[in-house]
Symmetry: C2
Subunit: 250 residues, 2 copies
DNA sequence: CACTATCGTGAACGTTGTTTACAGTGAACG
DNA sequence: CGTTCACTGTAAACAACGTTCACGATAGTG
């Protein structure tokens, strides 16, 4: 267990954190920055406690004052990266709110792909095969503990807005497999119940296609057929199909 | 470097391997079997030299008589798993050659998904984020050294047969991005030049969708919306779309 | 000033991949 | 038949890993 920091006497979420709390938070941030550098440098494997500590001029055991274990540290690193990715997507999506929904969907999707290609180790950590001990893909939806939810929210907001303004050629869900309809109905309630089931189906399928296209490229599994600019065009082609499927005309 | 085994005096590929060669091959196989067990048990991390050696009643350094390094061992394990997967898909595809192409495409795709879900650690190793040192996703197309090519061939054969018998609503490639057309043309030559460029485009896009759907599920990245039988129905839905896209009517 | 929570270190333990020197075994050859 | 030598395994050792623990130094608080 990490030594529990002294609770701020006035208020655990005091607007004026004590000096100790500030330096402690700063050190935590520095640790995560160093971990991030190592992750970029050579993947999750290189994120080693002694390596991190070395960059800060400390020794490895000192890190246990800030994180329970290496896995917890990498878990927090995941959260931070999820947050950063959410920021990137939000910035792209809301850069110019006057733009059409189609443009905003396209620019958000492209931002996702570009981020993945420019941050392959991070993308692999968040969206690759789950690392045994790290981040149990928790069912927690509180954005404070599961930053992945914030990332999902960026897309969800977009889809909610889309479902309000743009009709989608979707069934009403009556013809769906009953088990699928049941799960989609549950999920529908979970996200506020504003999107029809058939539409959720369309959105989910779009998200799966988007994930697949980005992942297969970021992991290098299509290099046998596509390289360089060809992949760009391939992705443009996918996006064109998706906008049609979503009923986004202009 | 592994000690080079004594070259068979008569012929390096003699039909009657010497006794030493046989026991050596058997030990190699045993090592890979143990590695596979450990992989299933706890992912790539648990595939440890001492762990493998322990299962064979040996010590870790002995393994260096059979593999140059842990990475080389895991690389060979990858090849073996690729081979097994190719066998599984081939068996499904060619189980009853009299079946329609649509049925054979469906059964092959379902076999792929089922294999992935039943062999998640293996799937993660082959199709997840690349492990830094292991299997450089090589450009080698010789099935003897790159078994991944054999896996790809299963799909390729299916697509070639499909392109001979089933028309696909595809462009002739003239409207494609020139860089994309150029790369697809190169790839076309590489695979024998029998499939039109526009059709290759359709097939590639289908493969990407298939990969994406299976990967996102096998990695547990859609558990927020789908569980249990719902994912089955979702996949059936995808397959329905793909058969339409491929022009497979019955 | 004295107290105490906090932070960092050094040593240690068990584990990992890997190298090296050495010993046994068994097949091949004069 | 005896010798030779390639082959196969072991034991010991090394650096690096995550982790724990006992111990100082430090700095904020009463």
């Amino acid at each position: 267990m990490t030594h529990v920091a002294v609770v701020n006497p006035q208020n655990p979420a005091s607007p004026q954190p004590t000096r100790r709390e500030r330096t402690r938070a700063a050190t935590r941030a520095e640790i995560l920055e160093a971990a991030r550098r190592l992750l970029i440098e050579g993947g999750t494997e290189r994120v080693t406690l002694r390596g991190i500590a070395g960059e800060l001029g400390m020794t490895a055991p000192a890190l246990y004052r800030y994180f329970d274990s290496r896995e917890a540290l990498i878990g927090e690193l995941c959260n931070q990266i999820y947050d950063e990715l959410a920021d990137v997507l939000l910035a792209a999506r809301d850069h110019d709110p006057r733009r059409s929904l189609k443009k905003r969907f396209l620019v958000t999707s492209h931002a996702f792909r570009n981020w993945a290609l420019e941050h392959r180790p991070e993308f692999g950590l968040l969206f690759g095969a789950p690392v045994p001990g790290v981040l149990v893909e928790n069912s927690d939806n509180d954005p404070n503990t599961n930053r992945g939810a914030r990332f999902g929210q960026v897309w969800l907001d977009l889809f909610v807005e889309l479902s309000r303004t743009t009709p989608v050629s979707a069934t009403d869900g009556a013809d769906l497999d009953p088990r699928l309809r049941k799960h989609l109905a549950e999920y529908r309630e979970q996200i506020g119940g504003v999107i029809p089931i058939g539409t959720i189906m369309v959105y989910l399928s779009c998200w799966i296609r988007l994930y697949g296209a980005v992942a297969i490229e970021a992991f290098g599994h299509v290099s046998f057929a596509l390289q360089g600019g060809a992949a760009d065009a391939m992705f443009d082609n996918l996006m064109h199909e998706l906008t049609i499927k979503l009923g986004l005309k202009h």
